[in-house]
């Protein structure tokens, strides 16, 4: 029997270009299955750009193109015959600012499942998803109310719940707690620990304590002299934060930089 590949997704010389400008240069990382991988680095180093390449959200940016390979189970997600809609169905995303749909709490969850052809019991799915996102107890009596009646932290957990509802393999999180207060942030971090039992999580954060607390692996990004971002070090989180190989990583994580 073949050994199961322990990597959920990996990049091979993945570069992201805007017109002639290379925003992210030759990234090689292997994201382990059911682990939390954090991407850290100073502002403008291309963290979000890199993250958005994983579910092909960059397709919507005019002039943006990607070179190199993004491999999921041996399949390059940027090859010509791959439909980005199918990619996004398997790689979910939670954004920096909570962006629930202008619908009821129930419909926020049900909509994604429905467009993805879910045929099972919708009530059950909604309940399970909200429970997985640790939101069920707070909203179970007001499922038909607008999602905009929720607080920011609740909205973000709703966005996580709707992502879970389509059962992706990987969840991308783009600074999911940066718009939230410390208590909501803590809840999101606790939730991530729960979610990694079933999902692979890739999270961008510029909060270093968050990366140190919550992640298993860390990719450190930095811009070079051409203003292109790149991963300068990728390792287990405790190594990155205790004995990094690269001087720049050390300067950054110890707060001597940026």
């Amino acid at each position: 029997m073949l050994m199961e590949n322990t990597y959920a997704i990996e990049t091979k010389d993945l570069s992201i270009h805007y017109g002639g400008f290379t925003a992210v240069n030759e990234v090689n990382i292997k994201v382990e299955r059911r682990k939390i991988t954090a991407v850290i680095g100073p502002s403008g180093c291309g963290k979000s750009t890199l993250l958005r390449a994983f579910n092909r959200m960059n397709d919507f940016v005019p002039g943006c193109h990607v070179s190199g390979e993004l491999l999921m189970q041996g399949q390059n997600l940027y090859s010509r015959n791959v439909d980005p809609v199918e990619v996004r169905r398997r790689i979910g995303m939670v954004f920096q600012k909570p962006n629930p749909f202008p619908k009821s709490i129930y419909e926020n969850i049900a909509w994604g499942a429905r467009i993805n052809g879910f045929k099972g019991n919708m009530n059950e799915l909604v309940e399970q998803s909200l429970q997985s996102a640790a939101l069920w107890d707070e909203v179970k009596d007001k499922l038909q109310e607008s999602a905009y009646a929720l607080s920011g932290g609740q909205q973000q957990r709703l966005c996580i719940a709707r992502t879970i509802a389509i059962q992706p393999e990987i969840i991308l999180m783009d600074e999911p707690a940066s718009a939230l207060d410390p208590i909501s942030t803590l809840r999101i971090e606790e939730l991530m620990q729960e979610l990694k039992k079933n999902y692979t999580i890739l999270i961008v954060t510029h909060n270093m304590q968050q990366a140190a607390r919550a992640s298993d692996f860390t990719a450190m990004m930095m811009i070079d002299e051409n203003r292109s971002g790149g991963v300068i070090e990728f390792d287990e989180t405790k190594k990155i934060f205790t004995r990094p190989m690269d001087k720049r990583t050390e300067d950054y994580v110890t707060g001597r930089f940026g």
């Binding site: 579910n55 959200m57 919507f60 996004r88 467009i115 993805n116 607008s146 389509i166």
Partner: protein, 302 residues
């Protein structure tokens, strides 16, 4: 001595601008009130005529005040039929164009198409009128046998009126769709939604209040439109809901009658103001209904 001076300093520029803004606001309110007052005053003369009663006004089916026929419905029916046809044409087409322009068209396609659409809005309505009479009606004649379709008819006028308000609805709806935050679209795409699912199920509902406003303005334009119906719909009041018939709308009638020799204080003269008041009411009611509908279905994203 106290150095900290927190007293209000004179700001003459600010006060002046404030006064100008206030005047501009007051002016439009004043004009509106003046119009309603004038309409009401002259219309009162009409309704004060011993022969005119509200019962006759709303129940008779013929309109010819000179010989004691005061059935406003003969004019209202034509306005409703032509406006309904116009909105049936303009709403779907305008909405589809708006979705295309806002969600599908490339930047270059949009920069070419939008100005062209706006040229449509700049064509004088009298040109549209003759376009309806001399181009659209002959084409429609091909589809109807014999004299089913009259030479002047509400169908052709309504269709062309729909084309006239299409750019308005398309342009306003496009603005409403474009104003929906990008984060909502991204959220939908990230769920594995296709472009169509995102546009129709997420962006469109979020833009509904703006689209509703477009429809309200469109309806008002159609109800108030004069030249197209005066030229192409017919020149005589006719209580009929059959779009193939000739009939005269409220606006068309006012335009025709007031154009001729008309002496003051005759029943023909004052009746025009009654029609105008009715027109005002119809527009008001339609606006209220559309607002209700929009509030019922809108989805807030603020």
């Amino acid at each position: 001595m106290n150095q900290l001076d927190l007293r209000k300093k004179p700001r003459p520029g600010e006060a002046l601008v404030q006064a100008l803004l206030f005047l501009a606001g007051i002016l439009s309110i004043f004009v509106t009130i003046a119009i309603v007052y004038e309409l009401g005053k002259e219309a009162m003369l009409f309704f004060n005529d011993p022969d005119v009663t509200f019962a006759k006004f709303f129940s008779m089916t013929r309109w010819q005040p000179g010989i004691g026929q005061y059935g406003i419905i003969a004019l209202v029916s034509a306005t409703l039929v032509t406006s309904a046809i116009a909105i049936l044409i303009a709403l779907p087409l305008g909405l589809f164009s708006a979705i295309f322009l806002s969600e599908y068209a490339s930047l270059r396609a949009r920069s070419v198409l939008k100005p062209i659409l706006e040229i449509l809005a700049g064509i004088p309505t009298v040109v549209y009128g003759y376009f309806a009479l001399l181009f659209v009606t002959p084409i429609l004649k091909l589809f109807f046998s014999g004299d089913q379709l009259q030479s002047y008819n509400m169908l052709s006028a309504g269709l062309v009126m729909g084309i006239m308000i299409l750019p308005l609805i398309a342009s306003m709806s496009e603005d409403a769709l474009s104003a929906v935050p990008r984060s909502l679209r991204e959220g939908a795409y990230a769920m594995g939604a296709t472009k169509l699912e995102t546009s129709v199920q997420i962006v469109l509902p979020a833009a509904l209040s703006g689209i509703g406003a477009a429809v309200i303005v469109g309806i008002s334009r159609a109800v108030g439109e004069t030249m197209i119906v005066a030229v192409a719909a017919g020149a005589g009041p006719n209580f009929s809901f059959n779009p193939l018939d000739a009939a005269e709308t409220m606006t068309g009638h006012i335009a025709r009658i007031s154009g001729g020799d008309l002496s003051y204080n005759t029943i023909d003269y004052t009746s025009l103001f009654a029609i105008a008041l009715m027109l005002f009411l119809v527009t008001l009611v339609l606006n209220l209904i559309s607002q209700r509908v929009v509030n019922r279905f809108r989805e807030r994203y603020e």
